[in-house]
Amino acid sequence: MRIINGMTRRSFLKTSAAVLGGLVIGFQLPSSGRRIEAKSKWASADIANAFLRIDEDGSITIMVNHSEMGQGVYTSLPMIVAEELDCDWNDVRIEPAPVNMVYSHTTFGSQMTGGSSSVWTEWERLRLVGATGKAMLIAAAAKTWEVAAESCRAENSVVYHDASKRQLTYGQLTKQASQMSTPKQVSLKDPKDFKIIGTPVKRLDTPEKTNGQAVFGIDVNLPGMLTAVVRRSPVFGGKVKSFSADKAKAIKGVQSVIQISSGVAVIADDFWTAKIGAQAVEIVWDEGPDANLSTQQQSEQYAALANTPGAVARKKGNITTAMDVSAKKLEAVYEVPYLAHAPMEPLNCVADVRKDGCDVWTGTQLQTAEHATAKAITGLPAEKVKIHTTLLGGGFGRRAVPDCHFVSEAVQISKAIQKPVKVVWTREDDIQGGWYRPRYYHKLSAGINDDKKPIAWKHTIVGQSITAGTPFEAFMVRHGVDVTSVEGAENLPYAIPNVLVDLHSPRHKVPVLWWRAVGGTHNAFAVECFLDEVAHAAGKDPYEFRRELLASEPRHLKALELAISKSNWGKPLPKGHGRGLAVHSCFGSFVAQVAEVSVSKEGKVKVHNVVCAVDCGPIVNPNTIDAQIEGGIAFGLAAALHGEVTLKNGRAEQSNFYDYKVLRMDEMPKVETHIVPSTDKMGGIGEVAVPPIAPAVVNAIFDATGKRVRQLPISSEDLRS
């Protein structure tokens, strides 16, 4: 096992160079010879913390400050260090980083994982870490041999002095290297000399994920630990009015029942007892203002809002005049429901609050925020609060909650009972617990001129703001527009001269959250489907139509053309089959997908295959890219075909996988991934395959049946023939 989880690993700070006598790197990084501007805020961090440790046995430990939730950062980030370090990949192991300023996200300023940003935001810093390590090892060898550093070279964890045929391993050199001063400048490799980066490296965590040894948050056990299940308000925004714990307390194994900020916690010897106990608590709820909220009512409210002007997200030309002079006009409404993330590992958190400290073990995407939350609840000094990041059994945004509720609950309970506690959410708690991708209503209209060119595009979006009322609001909401609501719509890439995109952000008590690919999950659906409608109205092939409108968007265009060339676009299909296309850019990457579907007489949609082309700039691990494209398509397809949380009386109507359906094996299409060779700016990969799949499938359904789906999930009833 290469990954040392928070439970067993030695504290990295304690095993610093001073203790081990080995090389530890990561503070006061030098600048690179080639890129002098590399000096940035993290370089001046005043703590001697580290990204890299080389032990005398030759093992190379790389601290990873991003959370592993399946996207492969425990492999791709160490690859970047290993490349510049010129070490033997087999010597590499990783440790999850503790919470510390030095590990803050280079762009977002706190320790966190999200926005498909781990690789591109760590690219430069981690290359410097590796290059610095190598320079210090070479310097150490040169000093030992009394030769010039320039006459030495490093390869596969060994420094060579070819002239005298001498060599020393990194393990042999590490003690000496730790005495060397950090170089002021290091040079980075020319990408053509890369040996690891760009190759399909296997994940470091696969073996332990194949024999049950991988440690997720839910697997953390402490001596004397109890397990808690929390009853939260069934109505969003509701609160406990009163409760009786008598029946729960009568159950053998239930230790205590307490009220916390989010509801009533039942604390027991094990999960099963806690769950039975939780069901036995009698609670009277104050259901709050949303007690009558229903999907029907929301849909009507949103439709009415869409007829009024919203906050302007994008304005180009004059939409009114352009519509007036259009030869042909189209209008359509697209709707998508609330979606739960439903990560495979239900939410959980272990907290151990003591008088002298607080330790928290959890799979989180927001370490800094969780740390601040635990600190605030316990009142302990910052250095006494430790967050141990375990593996995440899926994140998809659900483990990046601005109010830190799943950590907060565990810390509150442990503090109250003065014992370590593990809070575990049931699947029902997860599906009914909110923090959904918001429900959205899209109203679109377009005008086409006599030359069959679109000259007007109006897009009104209605849906809750994800960041309103959170610390993210300050930099994500501008002039009443939450970027997460409009991304993928306001940056419409198509050359249409008159564009208006506006937004309404109604408020409800239903908590909402980023859901893998965020704005793109609904905006790409509305934009790419409606564009398809416009193409057909103009009498044009959807590919040719897009190609013309993307003439000055080279990266969109390359992805589009690659996908088309690898699919059988335009070739005949069996009866009942259809092909559909969608293009989308998000998180700095550009994706095009062609889906082939068939629709049965009963209206059942089968997606046979998906050809996906992606330009994400220079690539680190093509193996990860393949996996993330397939995974993204599966995730997006689950939402297109099944995903839906509906409300009645302020409550979610679905509760587990039998009514909140996700994609299963028999529905998984064949996926072909093609990477656009690119030296452009590096983009993300974890989320980018999600947005195009729903519109590609819906457009394919139109191709197969002539029926236009404008609502997700796709209803087979509407497609019956």
């Binding site: 296997k202 994940r203 094990d270 990560p343 899926g394 996996a627 599966a634 996700v662 994609l663």
Partner: protein, 158 residues
């Protein structure tokens, strides 16, 4: 008190007889490889073998498996040597990894009964196991690959 035989070892479980096997494994025995995903036999994350057959341990009370041979992912092989584990590694199947114990345990029973599964056969069995990360295509490839290994092992032994 319920006596369970898990991975060839005997355990005395101090719990109500109605406790699902999943929670006895995780919270009483400390075998954490078997996962909780839904609790209602919908996701397959909790799959174990009882007398060689795949069982959803989240809905199986311990009273029902007393005296039977229970195998969890920890008991599938001591050293990652099961053909499925080897194939999982070769295909680099897991992403988050949370569903994979259950996937492998389900696939192991499939292969035991059928060493030449078609895609349809694989769907029939594996559709009960959810992977939210969408590793299905790699799982399928790995099962085909492991089936090949199993057939070869049988040939070599005959």
């Amino acid at each position: 008190m319920v006596q369970l035989k898990i991975n060839q070892k005997k355990y005395e479980i101090e719990a109500d007889k109605s406790m699902p096997l999943l929670w006895a494994l995780r919270d009483k025995v400390g075998l954490n490889g078997t996962k909780f995903g839904c609790g209602v036999a919908q996701c397959g994350a909790c799959t174990v073998h009882v007398d060689g057959e795949a069982v959803r341990s989240c809905v199986t009370p311990i009273s029902a498996v007393e005296g039977k041979e229970i195998t969890t992912i920890e008991g599938l092989s001591p050293d990652l040597s099961h053909p499925l584990q080897q194939a999982w590694i070769a295909e680099d199947v897991p992403q988050c990894g949370y569903c994979q114990s259950g996937q492998i345990m389900s696939a192991a029973v499939l292969l035991k009964h059928n060493d030449q599964p078609t895609d349809e056969d694989i769907n029939d069995v594996m559709t009960g196991n959810i992977c939210r990360c969408g590793t299905y295509n790699r799982i399928r490839r790995a099962i085909h690959q492991a089936a090949k290994t199993v057939r070869k092992q049988k040939e070599d032994n005959s």
